[in-house]
Amino acid sequence: MLVAGLSGYVIGRLSFKVRGAYFVIVTISFAEVTRLVALNWVELTQGPLALTNIPPYTLGFPGLGNYTLWNKVAYYYLVLALGLVAYVVISRLVGSRIGRAMIALKENETLATSVGIDVTRYLVLAAVLSAAMAGGAGSLYAHYLKIIDPDIFLFIYTVMMVIMVITGGKGTLAGPIVGGIIFGFLPVILRPFAAPAVQWILYGGLMIVIVFMLPQGIIPALQRAIANWSGPTRDRSGALLAGSAKPGEGQ
């Protein structure tokens, strides 16, 4: 996790010199370099044979001894707990001064810097936090499967996460969770019927359908539906309900 956060810092510093599509290209290139290293640096990673001797996760409880996670249920709760921690961290962040600075940068970078928000600093911070979280998830994954295969660095997995966020609704807290549930279960449901390549086509098709019908994603569309259903009335503080939908962040 620390290593991931650190590389988030390095990549952030380097690649926030460019914006938009160029930024995407730089980060994708980095993922691709990682895959090639994993595939070819045989002394470190055993190349295509994969790293196989990864021990299962051992939790140390002070005074209680160690507990080694052998079964799936235990892993389920560990992952769930860490997922919750990640959610709490992000939701605290969004409502804070730091989160506001990030939202400001997303909405209007010029205006944000004009009131004294340091663009690079907050973009890098965002990269570090998300890289650290992804790193945490990655290490859990490795301990769970007990194998690290270079295939895990394939482009499709990177894209998959982006698809989860976009369909769920970027800029919302619940969006990535909903997207994650949909695209996490889909492979399991589809596995008996479809080959991996066919699955990928289906994901792409599903994403296109969702993006066309709900361009902002599932969660913002739901929020709007609820607001319309309860009528565009003003609540007591005078806020338009339709407009008071959570201006979340956390892409």
């Binding site: 001064r97 506001r100 939202i103 400001a104 205006l111 004009s114 009131v115 004294g116 503080s237 806020a239």
Partner: protein, 265 residues
């Protein structure tokens, strides 16, 4: 040209030999002027004269090809916009510039960024001092909304406000950044008479609170009424400088800027 009104004598903004070129086009050439503490200076000139370019140079959005800009003796060349804002030199924008998807209150909170002190760990661990800091910011935000007269709009989404109020919110954002000098880029453009009058009163109130103001504006009656001193730009150079009364009679200005006749002067 010595400043007439309200000048305490100390130079806050000094612009020396500043030039900006876009390719072959000279946007500013050899720009020299000073703004003194507590003044309201109007920067006027026909469209394309270089006024907004000058603002962009002073606030770090553009780097000059030559010359130097100093704010309270700090050289601004090479500094980023957020560094310059941190020195207390804050601008507004010509086109409406607000965070349209957020509420009016959240907009001002974003503007208060520089006054916040909370760090990452305070936030993540929900330390008590985070709560205190957030409460302070909320109070400051309410105070600023009161000053600009938007307190009744606090919970409205900024993008739904009428134009005049969006411009007011733009000024509230700049004020939130705690300026010691404010650069206003056409604060009353597109406004009706009563909205302009409101802005003018606000500008004077801001100056009365000790903030120096440099103002770009096309609305001649407003500039003449509110400014202590006026600097006239044309084709990237200063063609006249002086009190409103002097500027209104300056033949160069009348020819270059006010155009045919004297209908607005």
């Amino acid at each position: 040209m010595t400043p007439t009104l309200g000048a305490a004598g100390e130079v806050v903004l000094s612009v020396a030999h500043v030039a900006v070129r876009f390719g072959g086009l000279v946007a500013l050439s050899d720009l020299n002027f000073k703004v003194f503490d507590g003044e309201i200076v109007g920067l006027i000139g026909p469209n394309g004269a270089g006024k907004t370019t000058a603002f962009n140079v002073f606030t770090g959005f553009l780097q000059p090809a030559a010359g130097e800009v100093r704010y309270r003796n700090t050289l601004l060349n090479g500094l980023k916009p957020h560094d310059i804002a941190a020195l207390g030199l804050v601008r507004t924008f010509q086109r409406t510039s607000i965070f349209a998807c957020n509420t009016v209150f959240e907009n001002v909170l974003i503007g208060l960024h520089r006054r916040g002190r909370s760090r990452l760990w305070d936030t993540l661990l929900a330390l008590p001092r985070e709560k205190v800091a957030e409460a302070e910011l909320a109070n400051a935000a309410r105070e600023i909304l009161r000053v600009v007269g938007l307190e009744g709009r606090a919970q409205d989404t900024a993008g739904t406000l009428p134009y005049g109020e969006q411009r007011l919110l733009g000024m509230a954002l700049a004020l939130a950044a705690k300026p010691s000098m404010l650069l206003l880029d056409e604060p009353v453009s597109g406004m009706n008479a009563s909205e302009s009058a409101k802005i003018m009163r606000l500008v004077q109130a801001i100056r009365a609170s000790g903030v120096t103001i440099l103002l770009v504006e096309h609305d001649m009656p407003m500039v003449m009424q509110v400014s202590d001193r006026i600097v006239v730009l044309n084709y990237g150079r200063i063609i006249a400088e002086g009190s409103p009364a002097v500027i209104q009679k300056d033949p160069d200005v009348i020819r270059a800027y006010l155009g045919e006749g004297k209908k607005r002067a």
